[in-house]
């Protein structure tokens, strides 16, 4: 087995081009698409006087991460809502606000909640400063500093989280494309590392190994360990580049995200074995692989969030797609901040898929004498 691994690694060192190509493509695609905007936040038309726009209220609205509040005239705002281009609009005044709702939706309620929170914060601040004004100048300065210090490092923080509330992190363009393209391109890297089994069988290298004292299980294990290694190395490099170089925030869970890729890479190695066992030659393999990989990416949520897919058929197909579970596990942990127990289900499904596809693939290969 060691001999086979040495030969594979030597070949890899001598010919790393395909590996480098897929790794680079993965990084480039994730970079271009991840930083090109996209569905980062929901746009909400808002009308208010120029004073309001410069006030605490206006600045707080502009700072909001989830919603993009676009200032415009009242007529423009009403037209957008009447045309159905916006679900909800807001008229902001000094002391209160008015919501113009076109469609009753969760977003309308969440926008109301967001603005309500801003007004509440403004009131709280005003109340505090009223109290400050009642004191002497030195005390006023002291209290002001203490207020700022208290705001910067509160005694405790309260995090409210629900579907698309102002604190929740529902969709992150950058991490989505990073995960999507990493999981997509690694399919090619791994599959093209499993393909040599087929070629070696055709060329007689496999026969030579069968006639040697090396056991068949060793032959398969060596090939699969190597394919796993190369696939995992690729995803690791991509994640390392994005984390340490590009500065992508993995919400402090980089190590867990990297470990989560193990069952995915294993499942893809098994899938590649299965595809290799089903085709007759390299030409068929080259024709089948892009179809499988692109379909997996499309229905697995690599190109766009699976949540926007409405077709029942596509959703059903996504359930037998390792990429779906890879994305689910990564998004669950990094984007939604779930604990490990919450992502055990997709991990278990990936391991199960890996075992089943590996068994089927090797059985088919042996039976068909591929």
């Amino acid at each position: 087995m060691n001999g086979i691994l040495v030969a594979k690694f030597t070949t890899f060192i001598r010919k790393p081009w395909m590996f480098l190509l897929f790794t680079t493509m993965s990084i480039i695609f994730a970079l271009i698409l991840g930083t090109s905007g996209g569905m980062t936040s929901i746009s909400v038309p808002v009308y208010g006087s120029s004073n309001i726009q410069e006030s605490f209220i206006g600045k707080s609205l502009e700072k909001n991460d989830v919603y993009t509040f676009n200032w415009m005239t009242e007529k423009e705002m009403l037209d957008l809502i009447a045309d159905g281009k916006s679900e909800v609009g807001v008229i902001v005044k000094e002391d209160d606000f008015q919501l113009v709702v076109g469609v009753e939706s969760t977003n309308a309620q969440m926008v109301e909640q967001t603005i309500h929170d801003i007004y509440a914060k403004k009131l709280q601040q005003e109340k505090l400063f009223e109290e400050v004004e009642a004191q002497t100048d030195s005390e006023k300065q002291l209290l002001d500093e203490e207020y700022k210090t208290a705001m910067d490092s509160p005694v405790f923080t309260m995090k409210t989280s629900n579907f698309s509330s102002s604190e929740a992190f529902v969709y992150d363009n950058e991490t989505h494309f990073l995960f999507g393209f990493t999981l997509f391109f690694v399919i090619y890297t791994i599959a093209y590392n499993v393909l040599p089994i087929l070629l070696e069988k055709k060329e007689g290298i496999w026969d030579r190994m069968i006639l040697s004292p090396v056991r068949k299980t060793e032959m398969y294990i060596a090939n699969l360990v190597y394919s796993f290694f190369e696939g995992y190395l690729q995803v690791l490099i991509i994640f390392l580049v994005f984390h340490f170089w590009i500065g992508v925030d993995f919400q402090g869970r980089f190590l867990e995200a990297v470990l989560l890729l193990i069952p995915y890479v294993f499942a893809v190695v098994s899938l590649s074995i299965f595809i290799t066992a089903c085709v007759k030659n390299a030409q068929q393999f080259n024709a089948v692989l892009p179809i499988v990989a692109v379909s997996m990416a499309m229905i697995g949520g690599a190109y766009w969030p699976i949540e926007i897919v409405e077709s029942e058929v596509l959703l059903a197909l996504s359930k037998i797609n390792p990429l779906t579970y890879g994305m689910e596990a990564l998004n669950g942990m990094v984007v939604y901040g779930y604990p490990l127990e919450e992502v055990l289900l997709p991990i278990s499904i990936l391991v199960l898929m890996g075992v089943v596809l590996m068994g089927l693939g090797i059985h088919l290969m042996e039976r068909r004498h591929v």
Binding site: A7, R14, E203, G204, I205, R208, L211, S212
Partner: protein, 310 residues
């Protein structure tokens, strides 16, 4: 020593080999001849334990190897028809890889590699990448890999396909030397009749999955002992001449090539004057008429009605 007993191999509805019986004794060079699709590769796959026969048996030293092929595999070297090498590795790395498969390591492996490289004449190219080798060098290394573990029996499946005459001679001489110096048993398949005539003690001829003849070179040529092969040469042929040859009742077989026609006739028939007459009537100028003793190629033509490389 090694034999196929009534071995049949079917792939779905196609019978690639039909009830084949053949044996190889220790120290022999046995040739397996046949055109493409004759079933040679299937036969040697069964004989080398790589493929189980659909029916029949494969025996090594009178014991079936179908359940336990390990004793045979230990003493067997295989040279596949394809170049079964890692093209991105050097010659020495390939030999190291296959040597390690046979649990060889360290100085023992290095010593064996040096001997093999010397034998196949690639010592000076030991550190060259195989991809850059010529066809002949690849073929030689392909053979070298099979010899690494000192096999007693070596099966060579068309080892000289697509190489230059110089490399071909080198390979044939090497095989002959291995047999004479190390008493290595060789099963050599080819569709080059002259290679088999040069190398082999005994010959099996296969066609369409069947064994159609077997024996020593002399025994096989005896098949045509009652016939002569006549080679007629001319710059061009015309239809009238070919038609008159084909209509001659005394001619058993005919093979027409660009500038040569080969016919097989009974030994007692004197065709010389008749052929000259036919040429004159057809207005054709002949360059030569040679009467030859039968070759294996003639036997093959006689047995199958077609040339070996058709």
């Amino acid at each position: 020593m090694l034999e196929l007993v009534d071995s049949t191999k079917s792939f779905k509805k196609v019978k690639a080999v039909k009830k084949l019986n053949m044996f190889i004794e220790k120290g022999e060079i046995v040739g397996l001849l046949g055109p493409n699709g004759a079933g040679k590769s299937t036969a040697i796959s069964m004989l080398s334990s790589l493929m189980e026969p659909t029916s029949g048996d494969v025996r090594y030293c009178n014991k079936s190897i179908l359940k336990n092929p390990a004793p045979l595999r230990k003493i067997l070297g295989m040279v596949p028809q394809e170049i079964a090498l890692y093209e991105d590795l050097t010659a020495i790395e390939n030999l190291q890889f296959f040597g390690r498969l046979y649990r060889m390591k360290g100085k023992e492996l290095q010593r064996k590699i040096d001997v093999i490289l010397e034998l196949i004449g690639l010592t000076d190219h030991r550190k060259d990448i195989v991809k850059k080798f010529s066809g002949g060098m690849k073929r030689r290394l392909n053979i070298g890999v099979a010899l690494l573990h000192d096999p007693e029996v070596i099966i060579m499946d068309e080892p000289t396909v697509g190489i230059d005459p110089q490399s071909r001679n080198y390979i044939l001489e090497t095989v002959k030397r291995l047999n004479e110096e190390r008493q290595m048993t060789v099963l050599y398949t080819s569709h080059y009749m002259e290679e088999v005539e040069f190398l082999c003690d005994r010959i099996y001829i296969m066609d369409k999955g069947n064994l159609i003849a077997s024996g020593t070179k002399q025994e096989i040529k005896q098949i045509l002992s009652a016939e002569n092969t006549i080679s007629i040469k001319a710059d061009r042929w015309n239809d009238a001449f070919i038609a008159s040859i084909e209509s001659s009742p005394t001619i058993h077989r005919i093979k027409v090539e660009e500038k040569e026609i080969t016919i097989v006739v009974p030994k007692e028939v004197n065709m010389f004057s008749e052929l000259a007459k036919m040429a004159e009537q057809a207005g054709l100028e002949l360059r030569s008429i040679d009467i030859n003793s039968p070759t294996l190629e003639d036997v093959f033509l006689h047995l199958t009605g077609r040339a070996l490389r058709d």
